[in-house]
Amino acid sequence: MALLEIRKVTKRFGQLEAVKDVSIAVEAGEFFTLLGPSGCGKTTILRMIAGFDAPDEGKLFLDGKPLAGIPPEKRPIHTVFQSYALFPHLTVAGNIAFPLEMAGKSRDEIRRRVGETLELVHLADKGGAYPHELSGGQKQRVALGRGLVNRPRLLLLDEPLGALDAKLRERMQVELIALQREVGITFVFVTHAQQEALALSHRIAVMRDGRVEQMDVPEALYSSPRNRFVADFIGNINLIDVEVRHSGHQGLQLAAAGLGEISAPPLPEAMEGARGTLALRPEHIRLTHPSEKPELKNHFVGTIREYLYLGDVTVYKVALDNDVVLEALATNGAPGRARFHEIGDRVNVAWRHDAGAFLNR
């Protein structure tokens, strides 16, 4: 049985349907992420789990028992707020002790567990500090510690890394993964940052306009997006308009206007004659010098339009001869060479027959 079950939940605010018929099951111990652009309904779902909003239709269950009618303060669910919402009049230790005091724990236990939690979030020497004396990352850790200290069944995290700068954000991501593994508490994480979602989560629900577009493990979302939105939202991707010529066990034969035939991995739902999109990751495209004979099945000729040098990798924009522009990613692995192609260079553009994914219209 799932720890948290969201069953056919709909939430309206006046005319606006913020969440539409969403069903999600979160297993115990999971790091589950709700990913989507702002206004997609992910925070509304989080607020319904916490108890601050009630669904208009559908039900939520925790451990199989309905959550309806239980106020937030009675739910064994804690939240790490986007703004941290630390109590400014309490010290770090006072903030972390708060949920224990609410639960009526003894003084000794409170002291012991506050101490343990301060260790856990690397703030052992900050127990006496007030929130306004802390840096952003430290505040973040206090909020995490406060949410975890009373061992909730579920910890909800509402864009908790949103206010941190890039470097600190990366470090906190690593800490968050380690922390979740260490305490074993189920996390439901909300974010609009797809890289963060990929890096942290066991499973991700990609949301748009109040609906779940696709729910899967990060690798599956990345390699087999179900539709254009998911493909485009997660990572960078090339989308080529194509028509299915042949659909079989071995693979698909697709036709792109002005390019010719393209081989793609098989997809049973792809009907011959169907129009759709081929989604192709930039890192799957290989650029080679025109003199090198391409040995890959899908190969075309193009011209380098521009490039974006990022240090470890370079992103090239290549215009194919039918004016389709593809992004290709090349790692700058060869010592002593930073770039392989210049603007205006003619190049071979190739990818494997099992790369990419066909998306029905």
Binding site: P72, E73, F81, S83, A85, L86, H89, F98, M102, R146
Partner: protein, 275 residues
């Protein structure tokens, strides 16, 4: 302000002087100098028909201070403190729910409600106190300590509501949600979050009520009985009725010292409440 002033360049320093000079001058002329005159007057002898006796033949004396040592004056001062304390407490109890209500109202409505709070200031203090005579007279409550307290609370209530509202309005609603999320029921949320965070508002509101009530003489005079005089009435009497200016000046100084003491305690608590 200290750090920049040490590095301030000539023109900046001049600007700062020009800006601060008028209010400083005002305070010196209309507050400091009168206060010093008052202090000097307390060491003089009363004139035959009011005012002060000429210094020639009447050297400075501690006569007024000896007079003030009489327990009756301390009793009246203590009673004034008690009335001011009770008024402050009642104002706080009445103002807090109201300030909270205004602070939690929709944004657009708050300004209207605040306007309603300060609306009584549109009419004269004496007229508003006379209204209480009309209210309390038929109820047979006039000229009693209760009537004095009622008038004091009524007149000073806005001075408690406004600082409380200003404080409560700034509270981050996310803090209450966080407290609720972490297991606090409504009463606990108030006790553990709203109340401690509003302490600076409580203290400044209390100072704004307590200090003026301590010296107030109009309300006890209009609503109180003969036994209900406070230190303010006593001072007024010395100057206008008994024509004993030195005694009035001495009592004034006594009141000023008491008020400064209250202000100092309040300031110390405010610093503690807002780390």
């Amino acid at each position: 302000m200290r750090a920049p002033s040490s590095t301030a360049k000539g023109p900046e320093r001049l600007t700062r002087w020009l800006v601060t000079l008028p209010p400083t001058l005002f305070l010196v002329v209309f507050f400091l100098v009168p206060a010093l005159i008052m202090a000097a007057a307390s060491f003089r002898e009363p004139g035959e028909f009011g005012g002060l006796a000429p210094l020639a033949g009447h050297p400075p004396t501690l006569e007024a201070y000896r007079f003030v040592a009489d327990p009756i004056y301390f009793r009246i001062l203590a009673k004034s403190f008690a009335v001011a304390g009770l008024t402050t407490l009642l104002c706080l109890l009445l103002a807090y729910p109201l300030a909270l209500l205004i602070a939690r109202s929709p944004k657009g409505r708050r300004n209207v409600l605040v306007l309603l709070v300060i609306l009584p200031f549109a009419s004269n203090l004496l007229i508003r106190v006379y209204a209480w005579i009309i209210i309390l007279g038929p109820l047979n409550l006039l000229y009693s300590p209760e009537a004095v307290i009622a008038g004091m609370v009524y007149v000073h209530l806005p001075f408690m509501i406004l600082p409380l509202y200003t404080n409560l309005e700034k509270h981050d609603p996310a803090l209450l949600e966080a407290a609720q999320d972490l297991g606090a029921d409504a009463w606990t949320r108030f006790r553990r979050v709203t109340l401690p965070l509003s302490l600076p508002g409580i203290l400044s509101g209390s100072a704004l009520v307590f200090i003026p009530v301590l010296g107030m003489f109009a309300i006890p005079e209009l609503l109180g009985g003969t036994g209900d005089i406070l230190i303010g009435n006593l001072i007024k009497e010395q100057f206008l009725d008994n024509r004993d200016w030195p005694l009035g000046a001495t009592l004034s100084i006594l009141l000023t010292v008491a008020v400064l003491g209250v202000a100092a305690v309040s300031a110390a608590f405010t610093r503690k409440a807002a780390p």
